[in-house]
């Protein structure tokens, strides 16, 4: 596989990069851009820790070829808050203790932000279904779901 020069737009900034032809977005973000907020968990599309937004749509960056992202807008966990003000989902995860080791948290946030925008009236069951692709090895699901429910309530009001 050869190297290819491309331009990617990540968190609002466009820069040229040299990437491998078969490289996945997770590797590009973590190893070339040092955006290590996006986590590498299972690296096979199971755990959801590497979720990022591609043109506003959540995708698993470990499964997404980097070259597929050319011309699209990539948003990572580093760009989800507005400066020092956390996103509502982040705020409630902190307030309600919706994390233990915190490894799955970036994936949870990146999955739930577009989910709540798309489903503002999501029920607890629907939130559970929406989170079904995010594994928490500390098994702290109850508080994560509580936090997302609270965030949904605030985002609705």
């Amino acid at each position: 596989m050869g190297l290819k020069q491309i331009e990617l737009t990540v968190n609002g900034f466009s820069s040229p990069f040299l990437v491998q032809s078969d490289e996945v977005l997770l590797f590009t973000l973590r190893e070339r851009l040092y955006l290590t907020g996006t986590k590498e968990g299972c690296n096979q599309g199971t755990c959801g820790s590497c979720t990022v937004l591609l043109d506003g749509k959540p995708v698993l960056s470990c499964m997404t070829p980097t070259l597929r992202c050319v011309g699209k807008k990539i948003i990572t966990i580093e760009n989800i808050s507005s400066g020092d003000t956390l996103h509502t989902v982040q705020k409630y995860l902190v307030e309600k203790g919706g994390l233990q080791c915190g490894f799955c948290t970036p994936g949870v946030v990146m999955t739930m932000v577009p989910f709540l925008e798309e489903n503002p009236n999501a029920s607890r069951e629907e939130i559970k279904e929406g989170l079904s692709g995010n594994l928490c090895r500390c098994t702290g699901y109850k508080k994560i779901i509580d936090a997302v429910e609270n965030a949904a309530e605030e985002m609705r009001s």
Binding site: S21, D22, V24, L60, M63, P65, L67, R68, T111
Partner: protein, 308 residues
């Protein structure tokens, strides 16, 4: 040399396929094939990514027949009002695949042509080296059956079961033109070469003619969202009382039992299904349990039909 290709038309994709003959992998959503590449089970040099071909992404109904573009994502299928209203079986099957985030990338075409799976084959290279390769990899015998010369890896497409039960047809584009065939006819009872599509052909569309009078769908798996199916049963009964019961995840290809309800009995159905399933111990669930669950699912379907 460029190894990643993103054609903008089917014609371009076909010409690339011809150019890189035997050394290319087609990406639809890429959610499954990407794992094969990471595990060194797919080592083709060229990737042809179909995600840039807009004409393959569509949901339309013409003259009572539903047409799905092969690159329509499973999430788009689930969200479609038309499909939810008239083809709930397809929506239910799509919803049972993987996770909500993966379904935003995974496509219906990719799911229909998902490669067969086996616990001895779908593993990392280190695992395979340690255990000894099987004949689908670089070995000479089937590890599951302890030496047989056939591959019994399972077809795990949930949407295939649903679409076969609905009598779907597929459209294929080849350099020679367009061909159409029933979906059920493309699958082969072989774990290695699991379909009979020509080398340079691209699945472009799925057409679904039947709006069934009754439908039923159930999927068995160890962990919801994590695991591929251990048994999927999709069943329909049309207005002429023809029952089409399709089982998948238990054999090398989907198993279809098609018979009029007038002559079909539960025993007859179970016997036909069990006879055609070449189920071996190649799943996370025990073999005896999976075989027993075929009876359980078919009994549940039979009971539901009687209630309706």
């Amino acid at each position: 040399m460029d190894y990643y290709h993103s054609p903008s038309s089917i014609k371009d994709a076909l010409s690339m396929a011809g150019k890189f003959s035997g050394n290319y992998t087609i990406f639809a959503g890429g959610t499954d094939i990407q794992i094969y590449r990471k595990q060194q089970l797919d080592t083709n040099e060229h990737i042809i990514d179909l995600s840039g071909i807009d004409e393959l992404n569509s949901i339309a109904t013409k003259e009572g027949i539903l047409h799905l573009g092969a690159m329509t994502t499973l999430d788009e299928i689930i969200s479609s009002d038309e499909i939810q209203l008239h083809y709930p079986l397809i929506a239910e099957a799509a919803k049972s695949v993987a996770t909500p985030v993966l379904r935003k990338t995974a496509t219906i075409g990719g799911n229909l042509l998902v490669k067969n799976r086996c616990v001895f084959y779908n593993q990392s290279q280190a695992w395979r080296n340690g255990m000894g390769s099987c004949l689908r990899d670089v070995g000479t015998i089937c590890q599951v059956t302890g030496g047989k010369k056939d591959c019994y890896s399972r077809n795990v497409s949930d949407t295939a079961a649903a679409l076969i039960a609905l009598g779907a047809e597929i459209t294929l584009m080849t350099p020679d033109g367009i061909t159409q065939k029933p979906l059920k006819d493309i699958y082969l009872p072989c774990g290695i070469k699991f379909h009979n599509l020509e080398e340079h052909s691209i699945l472009t569309q799925i057409s679904v003619p039947i709006k069934p009078k009754k439908w039923w769908y159930k999927k068995l798996r160890l962990r919801k969202t994590l695991d591929f199916t251990s048994l999927t049963v999709a069943a329909t009964v049309d207005i002429n009382s023809i029952a089409r019961v399709c089982l998948n995840g238990v054999s090398m290809s989907p198993i279809l039992v098609e018979q009029t309800m007038d002559t079909l009995t539960q025993e007859n159905l179970t016997r036909q299904a069990r006879k055609n399933c070449k189920t071996v111990d190649n799943d996370l669930m025990p073999l005896k349990y999976r075989r027993e669950m075929i009876n359980v699912f078919l009994e549940e379907w039979w009971d539901s039909i009687e209630i309706i």
